[in-house]
């Protein structure tokens, strides 16, 4: 991918492909939602041996 970008003429030093998982929760309790999301990441969404993750909570109106 880095090579392809360079081939297109872009000056890119490094490239990394990640993954974004969008989850919708009907849960007004942000603390609990974050705790749940932590467990989801540990148990399924990420493999903690080789992957790291960040959780971002976004309120929807």
């Amino acid at each position: 991918m880095l090579g392809s970008l360079k081939q297109l003429g872009f000056a890119v030093d490094d490239a990394r492909v990640g993954r974004v998982v969008d989850l919708e929760l009907q849960n007004g309790d942000r603390e609990r939602a974050r705790a749940d999301l932590e467990r989801m990441c540990e148990q399924l969404l990420a493999n903690p041996l080789i992957e790291s993750y960040e959780i971002e909570l976004v309120d929807e109106e």
Binding site: M1, L44, L45, N47, L49, I50
Partner: protein, 236 residues
Amino acid sequence: MSTAEPKPRVAVITFPGSNDDHDAALALTRLGAEAVPVWHADRELPDVRAVVLPGGFSYGDYLRAGALARFAPVMDSVRALAADGGLVLGICNGFQVLCEAGLLPGALRPNHSSVLFAATCRSRSSGPTRPSQLGARRDSVSASRSSTAKAASSPGRSCSPSSSGRARSCSATRARARTVSVAGIAGIVNAEGNVMGLMPHPEHAVDALTGSTDGALLLGSLVDAARVDAAEPAAV
């Protein structure tokens, strides 16, 4: 061998997306086993003492290779079989499933090149010298130390030793340096010696037509061990 002797039964699990299940069954059959096909949604395994998780792309490799297959209904029975000392062999994607399921330590990650690596590679077994249930046939150890097996990784996966510390108790099958895995590790065996995972495909190396028959050394040991196990049932 008397003709009345029952063939050792080895289950071959098919997940949605498995594509080496038929090759594994064919290889096992040619090596004297009765390959019993099992669908991933089956909760119970048939009466077997050995099971093979074949290569392919279970559940489309969605999320991570092997990550979803771990939740397949049949996996509870596979776990129970392993805990009971039964033999479990995961090949390629099956190896990934075993790691994700926690039946083997460590994890597999994409290789740096992201390029498919497909070649016949030499591999040798290393680690503890005690006899392992899964490994080379005892009468062909010298051959197995430099045996070849079809190695194909799709889109290129490499084995990362466990960070749990248990990897030190694992014996490893190392592929030669051309493989892209950490420390040249092509496969690992658990501490108990009854669960093995490897990226090369021994089931693709049981016929001279495909370049090598050395895969029979490994799969043959599985069949032999299943035969011994079948002859001594309920040995607790």
